[in-house]
């Protein structure tokens, strides 16, 4: 029997958030955390609310805080997170809670929008496609795989304190994805929008983002590359 403590909050009926305990029968199986949530919803309380979609770590919908560490519920096995038969599930930290485990991602998306996450190239488009060499394409590895689950940004203290001004690890990983793209020509404009004291430089290298990324990406390294590009541009 697994003891699950779940963050509950319904703004229409609750004055304040509270933790609710459930005893879930897992049958000794090493389920994913999402399976446990599905069991709770089906067998204990149908009002438990969370986001989910692909259930295979591709869509990034079910980013949650499990026993203190952010991750995707659908690809986190109980054996990786449960300690002493107990599982505490909370919403991603730092973002406003809409209900139970569902958070308002507006601040996160606003930062993503700020870095202009699309290819910019005013030259006439070739007939078929803009070509890259295999080496140029390899520059995007470790960057394009981000699924925007927000596990990294919501584990970052700098993002907790300044979600309106610090772009955050997810946004900065994508910022570097376009800075590193040989087909993009807006490098100067992109860098000029990142040189203020907050957008990039609020990163203090804590590396919570690297620790929690469910796709094994390294935003801190990408931020280091952006710093180097800013330094090269200024000297």
């Amino acid at each position: 029997m697994l003891q699950v403590s779940l963050y509950r909050y319904n703004p229409e009926t609750d004055d304040a958030p509270f933790m609710q305990d459930f005893a879930v029968e897992t049958g000794g199986r090493d389920l994913m955390v999402l399976d446990v949530l599905e069991l709770i919803k089906a067998e204990h309380d149908g009002s438990v609310t969370y986001r989910r979609s692909c259930r295979e770590g591709v869509c990034g919908s079910d980013g949650l805080n499990m026993n203190g560490k952010n991750g995707l519920a659908c690809i986190t096995p109980l054996s990786d997170t449960v300690k002493h038969g107990r599982l505490v599930i909370r919403p991603l930290p730092g973002l406003p809670v809409i209900r139970d485990l569902v958070v308002d991602m507006s601040l996160f998306y606003a930062q993503y929008e700020k870095i202009q996450p699309y290819l910019q190239n005013p030259t006439p488009a070739p007939t078929i496609e803009r070509l890259q060499s295999p080496e140029e394409r390899a520059q995007l590895d470790g960057l394009y795989e981000c699924i925007l689950c927000a596990c990294c940004s919501t584990s970052c203290p700098s993002f907790w304190w300044n979600p309106d001004r610090f772009v955050g690890p997810a946004g900065l990983l994508q910022a570097y994805r376009f800075l590193a793209d040989s087909r993009d020509t807006a490098t100067e404009d992109r860098l000029s929008k990142l040189e203020d004291p907050f957008s990039v430089f609020r990163c203090h290298g804590i590396q919570n983002c690297v620790n929690v990324c469910p796709k094994g990406l390294n935003p801190t390294k990408a931020i280091g590359h952006i710093r180097t590009m800013l330094l090269n541009r200024a000297t």
């Binding site: 304190w161 300044n162 040189e195 004291p197 710093r227 200024a234």
Partner: protein
């Protein structure tokens, strides 16, 4: 277009560089002081060290580095924790008050060090 790294306009990059450069100056200075303290220290040798012009300049540089390093660090701390998001409408006044207090203290310390070392 290249931007000047030493322009008066304050950017995240200039802050970042100043923190690292000032940290190097402070590290070198305190290693020097530590080496001096590890040897035999008496008033005559200590006075002799600080009477030399290069040591006075180095001390002034270390004081300015300390002030710059502390200002950038504490400015970051105040803009992290003393904000309207965390403290409500009073956040801005509290932050400004702390920043004025911090900068006044740092300027005071630098002037004090100059008076001690250069008089």
């Amino acid at each position: 277009m290249a931007t000047s790294i030493i322009s008066l306009r304050r950017t995240g990059l200039s802050d970042w560089l100043i923190q690292r450069a000032s940290a190097l100056v402070l590290l070198t200075y305190f290693i020097l002081i530590a080496c001096q303290l590890l040897g035999s220290v008496d008033y005559i040798s200590w006075r002799g060290l600080f009477d030399q012009t290069w040591m006075k300049i180095f001390t002034l540089l270390a004081a300015l580095s300390l002030a710059a390093h502390a200002w950038i660090g504490l400015w970051s701390v105040t803009t992290d924790y003393l904000t309207e998001r965390l403290l409500g409408p009073k956040g801005k006044s509290i932050r400004l008050l702390c920043q004025i207090g911090t900068s006044s203290a740092l300027i005071g310390y630098v002037i004090w060090i100059i008076v001690i070392v250069w008089r």
